[in-house]
Amino acid sequence: METLLKENINWVGFIDWNIRDFHSYITPRGATYNSYLIQDEKTALIDAVKAPFADNLLRNIKGLTEFEKVDFVVCNHAEPDHSGGLPRVMETLPNAKLVCTEKCLKVLERQYDTSGWLTHIVKDGDSLSLGKHTLTFIETPLLHWPESMFTYVPEAKLLFSMDAFGQHYATSNRFDDEVDLSTVMEEAKIYYANILTPFGRRVAATLEKAKTLDIEMIAPSHGLIWRSHIGTILDAYHDWATCKPEPKVLVIYDTQWDSTGLMARAIIDGASQPGVEAILLHIRQSSLTRIATEVLDSAAVAIGSSNLNQGMMPMAGALLTYLKGLNPVGKAGFAFGSYGWGKGAPEAIDQWLRDMKWDVLRDPIKVKFRPNPEDLAMCREAGELLAKKAIEIHESSVSRID
């Protein structure tokens, strides 16, 4: 397997072929934990893989150099999928100093016994010379944790971007031009939607900073390395971060006896207009991962559930909890649902949409037990409204200069 990024810079990470649930992010294509080794007058390891695979990482390092020769281990992020291997790595590399920020070290100390570790604390803007290569550190708080950081090597025009621009995609290939581009972009979108949606402003600010750097290669902590399609991924990130959705409508629902299902199908019927993509998802037939991905670039979203015990069905609650945390902004939508008696789901969902500051287009559509033809006509009309709004939102976002 080809592991060379640039002269004396190799990928030494781990391919996790079988992982399918990455802390509830469903990963049908598995994942990788990318680590990199830079061999210069001094040698630096960039990040450390997940704990169970630390020995695989060490074997990869051994294939390139002696353990004694590794001078630095850079920790760009304290989350266990990248820091989990650190205890094993720090005890095996006798001369290595851990390079990280003060903030990062504090997080590591809460997870591991760091007492024996040699450290070299850095902060935003600092640099560390390895000889021909200089590591420069760019703190990126909330991309996606407070202590997250990038490492940039100006001589190699190489940006180690940690989780930014990453994808969960296990393959023997290492570079963006070695696989089908649409597959990498799809996985990159899923990743952005499920991990970075809350941090759009931070992403946008980081993209501005990245414009000032001379970059020929972006090596993230997961998935394929960008070298031929850097413009494509940066443009996509810009659109996602500045909320430029497609003219797309998403209808999501849960149902008990399919009355809310009938409403949902009438809404999607109405929304299926020329110039619009309309997608219907049943909450229990779709993963939260998938739903969040479709929400990312949808302009208008309707969410429905039938009443159960004066509230919404439980998985609708799970979805709204997840969406509220991701905080997608600039969406329009409304709530809908069937009820038998009393208040419950449609009102509750409506409140969630308002709490998320979405443009709520109409009062919740409520139908008593089974929708009749008039109810279904109203649902179709509401679907047409979603389509009209989706086009408006898309067009006005495209003409915005951000």
């Binding site: 708080p141 909330l142 407070p146 931070r202």
Partner: protein
Amino acid sequence: MKKYQCDICGWVYDPEEGVPDQNVAPGTKWEDVSDDFVCPECGVGKEDFSPVEN
């Protein structure tokens, strides 16, 4: 009036802007911001904020 910065994520409280979303009106001094205020970007409480010295 002093600005205060979140130690965890760097978000800055500007007393001239307040945080209308959390019912903090523009012009509210940090000291007068309610104790249950949380950083809008990362959720930590007032105890994790430090004054911004000019």
